[in-house]
């Protein structure tokens, strides 16, 4: 069975540019999460979707970050006007429900030059 997939695996962009990161959750998982892992740190929560709606976006660092999940499956994390400090690994996870085990994708390594 397919796990969580994320594309691209690596993204290099210039400061000020716009990027989109995609997550395909495990089929049938209704809950989807985005985390960010900076160098030397553990993953930090960004946003949680239950179905199509963002149930909790309290971890998004500022309004340059936005995420959508229009059909309750694939999710896209969007970052506007990227800054060097946005460089990190962006991890997506999914689960059957919000109390269930979260399964992570391989991540997208974002480097902002």
């Amino acid at each position: 069975g397919a796990g969580v997939s994320q594309t691209p695996s690596n993204k290099v962009t210039e400061k000020g540019k716009y990027v989109e990161l995609r997550c395909d959750p495990i089929s049938g998982h209704t809950a989807l999460y985005w985390y960010r892992q900076s160098l030397g740190q553990g993953p930090e929560f960004l946003i949680y979707f239950q179905g199509t709606g963002a149930a909790d976006d309290s971890g998004l660092p500022n309004d340059r970050f936005f995420a959508v999940r229009p059909e309750g499956s694939v999710s896209t994390l969007k970052i506007q006007r990227t800054e060097r400090g946005d460089s990190a690994v962006y991890l997506c996870a999914s689960s059957f429900g919000k109390k269930e085990t979260q399964y992570f994708g391989p991540g997208t390594r974002l480097l902002v030059l």
């Binding site: 969580v4 994320q6 809950a31 999460y33 985390y35 030397g40 740190q41 553990g42 993953p43 930090e44 929560f45 949680y48 909790d56 309290s58 971890g59 991890l91 996870a93 689960s95 919000k98 109390k99 085990t101 979260q102 399964y103 992570f104 994708g105 391989p106 991540g107």
Partner: protein, 116 residues
């Protein structure tokens, strides 16, 4: 403030011996704890979990111990194998944390190296 702490950045053990990875937490509202393993260029992989109603959970070579009074948990791997070499993350969540029991709070990880 780091609510979940893994104070050992690295640990090296010999194949066949026991590996003990430690984790401390400060938030008494946490009541569910997980260990994830991460290989380079891969996402974290769920390993084992424990609820605060238990003090031990075992799955094959992996055992997690929880000491609620000390706010401490540990992961024991016996016997350790070279393929266990990875970064191990401790994570916590809280069913009592109103409205946010899904949110995992991670430690910084411990790099385990198992030498053949």
């Amino acid at each position: 403030d780091q609510q979940v702490k893994q104070n050992s950045p690295s640990l090296s053990v010999q194949e066949g011996r026991i590996s003990i990875l430690n984790c401390d937490y400060t938030n008494s509202m946490f009541d569910y704890f997980l260990w994830y393993k991460k290989y380079p260029a891969e996402g974290p992989t769920f390993l084992i979990s424990i609820s605060s109603i238990k003090d031990k959970n075992e799955d094959g070579r992996f055992t997690v111990f929880l000491n609620k009074s000390a706010k401490h948990l540990s992961l024991h791997i016996v016997p350790s194998q070279p393929g266990d070499s990875a970064v191990y993350f401790c994570a916590a969540s809280g069913l009592k944390l109103r409205g946010s029991n899904y949110k995992l709070t991670f430690g910084k990880g411990t790099l385990l190296t198992v030498n053949p």
